[in-house]
């Protein structure tokens, strides 16, 4: 994924709200990246753009080699369905379906074959939910629900998993578990994870931390044991963002 000078404005009444003011960012396959920053700094907006849920107002944005701004609505939906996984803060799941049916439903939308039931079972087991596959969503705890959401997101092995504050509604312990599981999945299957968070304990799991302030990348740092990555000089960000 590659962003150059990505800008996003929203019309709010007569006013223009600048959510992103020129973001430059490269994310390579297999990264485990946390987007942090104060409220309103543009984390959700950026995740939505990378997730092809929205198009940038200006700038260049390539996701899996596809120029998001140039894709039709239909092409973006197809890209999301086939190549991207999503975990939202809430409302991730269809409440009337069981955990397994939620996973199966999306596998079916993706056109998976008849093995989708087994596949759903397998991925739920991978997230420690083997015994809960036939529970309806409203019979599961918040932590379990988010694990189902992660299972659903990774079931078809997407290239990138995007998670917007996945732990916001979870207590510390559940947040820890979820991060461990996500990190595990990335380590085993090489999927890219990009998630936003306010929670320092969640940030601690990240391999790379990108800090957004006021719609710009303010810091980009690597932590623990991962190979260093080129951090864009602040001047470049300033110049493009201005």
């Amino acid at each position: 994924m590659r962003a150059r000078g990505v800008t996003k404005t929203f019309a709010s009444g007569r006013q223009e709200v600048w959510a992103l003011r020129g973001v430059d960012l490269d994310v390579r396959a297999g990264e485990f990246l946390a987007l942090v920053g104060p409220s309103g700094s543009g984390k959700t907006t950026l995740l939505n753009l990378i997730g092809a849920l929205d198009v940038p107002t200006a700038g260049e944005l390539l996701v899996l080699g596809r120029p998001i701004a140039a894709l039709s609505k239909h092409e973006r939906a197809h890209l999301r369905l086939q190549s991207l996984g999503f975990v939202f803060q809430a409302y991730n799941l269809v409440p009337v379906l069981t955990a397994r049916e939620n996973v199966e439903f999306v596998l079916e939308l993706q056109g998976a074959g008849l093995d989708r039931r087994a596949r759903a079972q397998e991925v739920l087991a991978e997230l420690g939910l083997a015994d809960l596959t036939d529970r309806r969503i409203n019979e599961l705890s918040g932590g379990q629900q988010q694990r189902v959401a992660v299972a659903r997101a990774v079931a078809a092995r997407p290239a990138i998993v995007l998670a917007d504050e996945p732990t916001a509604n979870l207590d510390g312990e559940n947040a820890e578990t979820l991060m461990h599981l996500m990190r595990d999945l990335r380590d085993r299957h090489g999927m890219t994870f990009i998630f936003s968070t306010h929670d320092p304990r969640v940030v601690a799991h990240a391999v790379r931390i990108v800090t957004l302030v006021d719609g710009r990348v303010a810091r980009d740092e690597r932590t623990g044991g991962e190979p260093p990555h080129t951090i864009l000089p602040a001047a470049t960000v300033q110049a493009v963002g201005a």
Partner: protein, 410 residues
Amino acid sequence: MTVLTTWRIAWRNLWRNPRRTTLALIAIGLSVTLVLIYDGILRWETDYLVDTITGPMLGHVQAHAPEWRRTRAMDKTLGGVSRTVAAIGRDPEVAGVDTRVYAPALAALGEEGFAVVVVGVDMAEATGPSRLLPGSKVPLGGRRALMGRLLAEQMGVRQGAEIAIVGQGVDGSLANDLFTVAALIDTSVDLVNRQAIVLPIAEARELFAMGDEAHELVIYARDPARAGPLAARLSGSPELAGVEVLDWKTAAPGMNDLVDLVSVMWVFVLLLVFVAAAAGVANTALMSTFERTHEFGMLLALGTAPARIVGMILVESLALGVTGALLGTALGGAVVAWAYHAGVDWAKLTGGGPSSLSAFGVTFTMIIRPRLASIDIVRVVLAVMATAILASTWPALRAARLQPARALRE
């Protein structure tokens, strides 16, 4: 999984709010019940009207000499009647043929004379079910006549009295004879009750010096609905060449209008279902899709095709509509079946309303025996399904057009 899942998801979603769904089912079910009851009554009424109108007097197809209907002249008769009747009777769609003579005459008891119509009928035909004298067992022949009760009251005649009938034969001769009133009759035809003296055809012919002749052949079809084509076919047959052949709708347009009026009411009934079903479905679809904005936003965000969202919502409404329609059909069908066997007396139902009703000189009894044809049920269920789809189209399109990012933010 696809179709099954869509229905299963729809069904589970409906029961997320059991109260709302139950209310919608009651609204749809009761409206379908009412429609089927009303429908059953209409169908009975239409069949019954046609029977009552055609059975005793008109028949389904009539044949006369060309000028007879206009002039009612005694001598405008059909000849060679027995051969014609036999030929018509061979048509597989003909259930029976009555041979009629209508002769104006004077009837006298002592000094005073009254204008009457002597009606000669084929007794074997006229005593059949829903004919002029259904089930009558009064033995006639030997100068015994039946007299309309109102006429008898007017003349002061009792059963067993002897009356003189004076008229003119077809050949202009004087027709004149004495008859015993064997019974007073109450038919569903006013004219007969007020003016008629009924004789077996043979005695009527003898009285009026007629040979193998008649003024009218009254033909009964096996299927009354096919009276028109039958009339057309018969009028082309060699035995009826040069004869005026009419189906009952042409012969009595006023009565046909009455039947048509009843059928037109169906449109209003259909409207009733539309309104009730639409209200039930539209309310449910609107509320439940508004409540699930996040859910649809999420599904769209994952890349679900908007068409699939539309499909899910339409299927949900269809499931609601069809379930309501089936419940309504079960209830309505049961009520109609019960009423058909028991027979509902209009008079008792309305607490003193009329037990019978007269229109166009025909008396209709008001014992209601509603009945349904499968088309009635199919029609109602289809109407509910169409309404369900129409009523949920807007909520479905609204949900499908959601912007996923915004729907999730809200």
